[in-house]
Subunit: 356 residues, 2 copies
């Protein structure tokens, strides 16, 4: 299991967009995150199983974590107005519609775990019911009950498949409960009492304020820390989040930030706001690297002016170079935080970066 | 100057699409082709000059060749119906409209050469008037006269700038004359008589049949070969072309084939037709590399099934991996042809590849 503070980039469709596995290794990435919903629909978990699992499929010998598919099923369908009042959810599972071809599918906890065992990442996530935000307490309570019943079904199916397939994949249970203190604490207690290998916190970073998100984690962290199990924050990972949560003892976070910003033409840097737009006219003749403090391949070899040009000309290489740098930037920050936590210089590092 | 048979990939906007300079080096690319028209409009030749020229701008220490901009000015404007009967061409130069913002610009031979000296590639091309295909003989004759007058003006400006800027860039003159034997021979004689460093053949591969293209080259090749100067074919480079023209003594060709096919989802291979569609359903679970005979980075590490998935999912990495392989395939073929020509096994190699 993960034991050090780890930033996990997202490779939704079994690819961290524009980068090869060899790039990831060079950057220092140790693990990336794949989305079960997407891979189930395309190319299909059976295809990936026949090809030897996600590691072989992607030619990656680091670690991989897959989610349960639950969050995508809910959020994509909600966005498209297909699930009105979550009317397609029953205690058995969730019916959903493919965003690719409109076909109907049904996920149960067992099905999610079976798919994840076919994908055969290192770390799996139990199937949960993530209530929308904001939501009425009674709705969150109902979703939470289901999340807990599904946690037990996920765990049972996982243990069965680990035995049957002679593999030793690891399963994270997911704490839900929205922004309600009693529900979150109830969930933390329930999930921590089960035989999961790791504890994930879900239903955060779904639209609530950053203060609220931190409060939710504060409510439950003491309970989770007692288990000594690795703790994963689902869908979190801005720069101040890394300081805040790694400083508290959270083990890992996954976030699309560096890759998504790269494709949108933003470069991460130490300057104000931690990012700048590469399309800024000021950069047209700027021969400096994206971030003069960065030692990544892109910053060693390419100028802002060149990447500015590539981005303005909508050249594929621009997305690749920006993504590479942004991910290097996050991994470098992760490594600095690891070191500072070991050396007892964490607060100093945090002050240098955040000014507080 | 180039002395061996050389396939030149195209990097229109100062980037061989999706690849880094380091990729090109690893693939074995020695030189790539940039388009003066595009770089003049964006980011501007003055910007590139201030940044130290194309080599520094693109972080590439191999060779670069730029074209004159003439072909783009004519063809892009013709495509868009802006130049009806070439009405914007005068003996002084050509007025054209930017495809980016519709602004008006004027190229003369001197201007083209000045821009190319600002870009500072290793090899430059004289400004020419490429008649459309098909065209009436009187129109081709008129364009040819202009091409020759512009050749002299290009050469004079080039020599002046080489002296002034203390640089030793090399200039190719361009033979035109459409599909008319007497005009082509007249042009070959005229261009070969001037003090150019290399001889380019233009106005081929513009819509005429492959037989016609080869005939045009046959008419003028004896005259050019006598000069002992390197010979470049503009815009040519399918697999059978490499065998045909390198076998005849042509030095180099530039072609968008491998990069364009890659982005369109085609992989080059030795099988029938020399290419296959990666989106073919048969490949969904195919764990073989794109081309089992290829030793490139992509074929060593990634499967058809993975690249099939990436392409179907419209992932950026698919274009990159296909482009990388296709370019490796062409460079590998170039190297095989070089070796065979040295060893006297060229006809045997050609038979193996083309069956004739």
């Amino acid at each position: 299991m993960l034991s050090q503070p780890t930033f996990i980039p997202v490779g939704t469709q079994a690819t961290v967009k524009s980068l090869t596995s060899e790039d990831l290794k060079t950057i220092g990435v140790e693990i990336f995150f794949c989305n079960t919903y997407h891979l189930y629909l395309r190319p299909g978990d059976q295809v990936i199983r026949r090809l030897g699992g996600l590691h072989k499929f992607t030619h990656w010998n680091g670690k991989i974590i897959t989610d349960s598919g639950g969050f995508q099923v809910f959020s994509l369908n909600q966005e498209r107005g297909i699930i009105g009042k979550l009317s397609k959810i029953s205690d058995n599972g969730v019916e959903f519609t493919s965003h690719i071809d409109g076909s109907k599918h049904f996920f149960t906890p067992e099905k999610s775990i079976q798919i994840q065992h076919n994908l055969a990442a290192d770390y799996l996530v139990a199937f949960d019911d993530c209530a929308p935000y904001p939501a009425k307490k009674e709705d969150v309570r109902e979703a939470l009950g289901r999340t807990h019943r599904w946690a037990l079904r996920s765990l049972a199916e996982h243990q069965k498949l680990n035995r049957k397939l002679h593999q030793n994949l690891k399963l994270y249970g997911v704490i839900q409960g929205g922004c309600f203190k009693d529900l979150r604490q109830e969930s933390a207690k329930f999930i921590c009492d089960q035989n999961f290998d790791g504890i994930a916190i879900g239903g955060i970073s779904v639209g609530e304020s950053k203060e609220k998100m931190r409060q939710v984690v504060d409510w439950i962290l003491p309970t989770i820390l007692k288990t000594k199990k690795p703790i994963h924050l689902l869908g979190v990972g801005e720069i101040d989040d890394l300081f805040h949560f790694f400083g508290q003892g959270i083990t890992s976070m996954d976030c699309t930030l560096p890759t998504r910003l790269g494709r949108a033409g933003y470069a991460l840097s130490r300057q104000a706001g931690f990012k700048f737009k590469i399309s800024n006219l000021r950069l047209k003749s700027d021969s400096a690297p994206l971030d003069p403090d960065c030692h990544c391949y892109v910053c060693q070899n390419y100028s802002r002016a060149y990447i500015h040009h590539l981005f303005k000309a909508q050249e594929l290489l621009s997305y690749r170079l920006l993504t590479y740098h942004n991910l290097s930037f996050m991994i470098n920050l992760q490594n600095q935080i690891r070191k500072a936590l070991k050396n007892g210089t964490f607060l100093q590092l945090k002050r240098e970066w955040l000014g507080c």
